[in-house]
């Protein structure tokens, strides 16, 4: 009897222990990069505290960019730095507790019309400029969807949906990240120059900066209120990603270039960013009072710490050497980005007080 008990216990521990040790080994792999992001982000926060009227966001990203591009960053930092979007998503879910549900729906609702215009402009401009510069149609589609919807994740899911080439996806992603990295510094300057309100700046940023981390960062670089609005507007773009990718897949399927889409509902669900559900749930919990205002402010500060890590990661992931890889996709990408930026600015200027 005792033997039997002992055996069961041993076999259970044999199953659990290797799993835990594998998890520990896997985690260890991420530690250097995560520590680097913490150090760079905190350095940005310290520098900003010495400079009046400055936001830590830009310093965290700028220091990250310098570290990445001025030094040859050892490869063992890469895995940890690549986790920056996980911290961003946790931060965005926590930020949900700060925003009342009715506020989220009113910002998202008034933004959705502008989102439709913005996405159409991006896809059409990319197709047009792509033709002029002689880009492959699929690369132009990737640029259009990436710039129209939400940067990296839209490009990745479109790549598989229209069976585009990996290299094209890499180009399109690099273009968007670099544009966002440059606009991080240009947008707040332009916003102050023109005298935009927090609301208008938040809408403009959320509509025209494509990578979610960069859009959130640009919003917060202007002000906290602008950051909150930019986040919600950007999330409403992310939410429609599935629909746009599906339409793109159907377009290529109709031309007989790719296979048919079998189950449209499953296709849409698989492309819905799930952290949006967490964001809305936290907003709902705060609205009904399950999360009290004092608890919401703890969660809000947690999101600031998480964004600090994220923004350092964005800087550390920005590799200017990628520009040498090929100039044509960048020209088309920057052309489309500029058109989208001007059109969304006009929309915001006309519609948002």
């Amino acid at each position: 009897m005792q033997d039997k008990v002992l055996n069961t216990a041993t076999s259970a521990s044999q199953a659990v222990l290797p799993s835990i040790s594998r998890l520990a080994t896997a985690t260890w792999h991420y530690v250097p990069g995560i520590i680097l992001m913490l150090v760079v982000g905190y350095a940005g926060k310290i520098v900003a505290s010495y400079i009046p009227h400055s936001e830590y966001v830009l310093f965290a990203i700028a220091i990250g960019m310098v570290v990445r591009n001025a030094f040859n960053l050892p490869a063992y930092f890469a895995a940890g730095v690549a986790t920056y979007d996980l911290w961003m998503k946790i931060g965005i879910v926590c930020l949900g507790a700060r925003l009342a549900l009715q506020e989220v729906f009113s910002i998202g609702g008034s933004g959705i019309l502008m989102v439709v215009v913005e996405i159409s402009v991006a896809i059409l401009t990319a197709a047009y400029l792509g033709k002029i510069f002689g880009l492959k149609e699929k690369l132009a589609s990737l640029l259009g969807v990436g710039i129209g919807v939400c940067g990296v994740s839209a490009i990745i899911s479109t790549t598989s949906a229209i069976e585009a080439e990996e290299d094209d996806a890499t180009y399109a992603i690099a273009t968007i990240l670099l544009f966002g990295a440059i606009m991080l510094f240009v947008y707040p300057f332009l916003g102050r120059l023109i005298g935009l309100s927090d609301t208008a700046f938040g809408y403009w940023t959320g509509l025209s900066i494509d990578n979610t981390a960069e859009a959130v960062a640009t919003g917060f670089a202007f002000s906290e209120a602008a950051g909150n609005i930019a986040t919600v507007v950007k999330l409403s773009r992310n939410a429609v990603m599935g629909v746009v990718v599906l339409l793109m897949a159907l377009h290529y399927a109709r031309k007989g270039i790719t296979g048919e889409v079998q189950n449209k509902a499953a296709f849409l669900w698989s492309r819905l960013p799930k952290f949006l559900i967490g964001f809305l749930a936290f907003s709902l919990l705060a609205t009904i009072g399950f999360i009290t205002p004092a608890q919401a402010s703890v969660l809000n500060n947690a999101s600031k710490w998480l964004f600090m890590i994220t923004f350092a990661g964005v800087g550390l992931s920005t590799d200017f050497r990628r520009l040498r890889a090929g100039i044509k996709p960048f020209l088309v990408g920057f052309g489309v980005e500029t058109v989208v930026s001007v059109v969304t600015f006009a929309l915001v200027y006309l519609l948002i007080p």
Partner: protein, 34 residues
């Protein structure tokens, strides 16, 4: 593939944020300086 890779990054983000929220809800963290 290890089991934790079968759950997407997005769901891990929701799980982590929920765990943190429950810790705050339980009163274990009452203020967090920024």
């Amino acid at each position: 593939m290890a089991w934790w890779t079968k759950i997407s990054k997005d769901w891990w983000a929701v799980i982590a944020a929920t765990a943190f929220m429950l810790v705050v809800k339980a009163g274990l963290i009452t203020k967090l300086p920024w």
